[in-house]
Symmetry: C2
Subunit: 277 residues, 2 copies
DNA sequence: CATAAACTCTATAGTAACTATAGAGTCAAC
DNA sequence: GTTGACTCTATAGTTACTATAGAGTTTATG
């Protein structure tokens, strides 16, 4: 008496008939009574308790397999431990999401920069606050070689970043750097690439701070024009009587998911810190 | 020249050969050159750019299908919009995780209460701070009927909670309530069940506050002994000359995932607010 | 009581983003 | 020329279900 058909049971518990059949198959929740002739499943109302527990454990992020194993052992003492594990798991997922959120925010900011960038080739003066980067020295001059070398160097930077457990999120904002002394020697040579990290990222080998400064900036939409545009930038610096007071940076603002033969399509912001000479 | 075998390409990009084959099959990243005779895939180093973009978009939470659709349209203008969508999605997931975290914390707290509970049948005086509950009146006396009726009433409470968009998280902490006036009439009758909600849960129909008070409490490990234990509690109240100053509450502290015939196995904390008479 | 509508059964395929395997063929080095 | 490492296709498995087909059962209505 008081047996519930599978449909009614599903309805009462806001689930589907298929789900109940699936649970029955897994041995997670077997109907109280099964008609031998028709194979019809009939549940007792008290079985809702077990279904509630399944749903609750599912909600805590456990897999059906785990839940079943749980029910099979019926070990009450280890409940707090498993709850602690779930708490840790949730904490971990939250951190991941936090990283993702940051990554998206950086991308939004960068696309905004891209959309509102001054005309290509136009030089602008801009105050840029302090930034933190994670640098990798490839010991190969980026500008002596092709886009292919650059790709290899980027792979190495990434490998380094992975080895040092930097979150994936940072990978959307890379750049290359030419040191002040190299520039002063009139050379356009760089062996270092970097990625921007959070201001609160811990200091360690490879991590350095780029101080706040006034920068002269020029935007450039192709890897192949960087040199040309940078020359223009430095010409301007000298023409206007500015003095270079730090490293030159080529920041990749966005990479556009539009490919010419699968090649990178980058939008870069070339920048050099200056003061009135 | 400079073609990468699938293994090398996988290695450079910290992914697996199968993944690359899978992407090729989906048309997401097709090798630059495929040997007609052997079917061997060969990639160009520049194709890493596309793979980077795939990984980045994946990291933002997009599906491969979406990514492909994206590449196929190559619509740069809608990038900010899609980034905003991803941001919203992440925000939503974070809220969900937050609820889960709360649920786990409540469970941890409850199991702690359970593990450290005074001896079964022992009466203790305890100060309990203000709590907020979401109440549902079934209009059926819980104590006149069986566990089965209780199950049905719980289903109704849950249905109500779902209609009112209460998060699932709250469902791990339910109880029933007997109003003060009913008790004063010497009746042990309740038609109301509830679930605890966050202190910051918005006030609405069904939500009420249980004020802070000193409570006499007794713990009980079976649905069937509630009446008996509650009697004991009230006897004690009178013996000791206390005065009941609010509603009686039967709080289900934990439900143990140990089933006798799939039945609920509850650990309850019966509590009545009092003052010195 | 007959019929129709609603329900249930089993079995199979599909979902997403891969991983794992078998069995056959290919490449690079010694 | 042989070995070992690599790659190919094709298939099955993963999770927690959903969807479907085709057959049988229960319930409501006339």
């Amino acid at each position: 008496m008081d047996k519930l058909s599978i449909g009614r049971m599903a309805e009462l518990n806001h689930t589907s008939v298929q789900t109940l059949r699936y649970y029955a198959k897994l041995g997670l929740l077997e109907p109280e009574y099964v008609d031998e002739n028709t194979g019809y499943r009939y549940y007792g109302i008290k079985q809702c308790a077990r279904l509630d527990m399944i749903n609750y454990m599912k909600y805590l992020g456990m897999s059906l397999d785990n839940i079943k194993a749980w029910f099979d052992t019926e070990n009450v003492e280890s409940i707090p431990e498993m709850l602690q594990q779930q708490a840790a798991l949730i904490e971990h997922k939250m951190k991941e999401l936090d990283q993702m959120k940051k990554a998206v925010q950086v991308s939004i900011k960068n696309y905004d920069t891209y959309m509102n960038a001054p005309e290509d080739g136009h030089i602008v003066l801009q105050h840029i606050p302090e930034r933190k980067i994670y640098c990798y020295d490839s010991e190969v001059n980026i500008y002596e070689n092709t886009l292919e070398t650059y790709e290899y160097i980027l792979r190495e930077l990434r490998a380094q970043a992975i080895v040092n457990h930097l979150p994936m999120a940072y990978f959307c904002n890379v750049g290359s750097i030419i040191r002040q002394d190299t520039i002063e020697q009139g050379q356009f040579v760089s062996t270092e690439v970097f990625l921007f990290v959070d201001p609160d990222f811990e200091m360690q080998a490879g991590v350095e701070i780029i101080p706040e400064h006034d920068y002269l900036c020029i935007y450039c939409d192709s890897f192949f024009y960087e040199r040309e545009y940078a020359d223009k930038l430095f010409d301007y610096v000298h023409e206007q009587g500015y003095e270079v007071i730090g490293d030159y940076i080529c920041e990749v603002v966005v990479e556009l998911p539009v490919f010419h033969h699968d090649e990178r399509n980058m939008f870069m912001k070339l920048q050099v810190p200056i003061k009135r000479g």
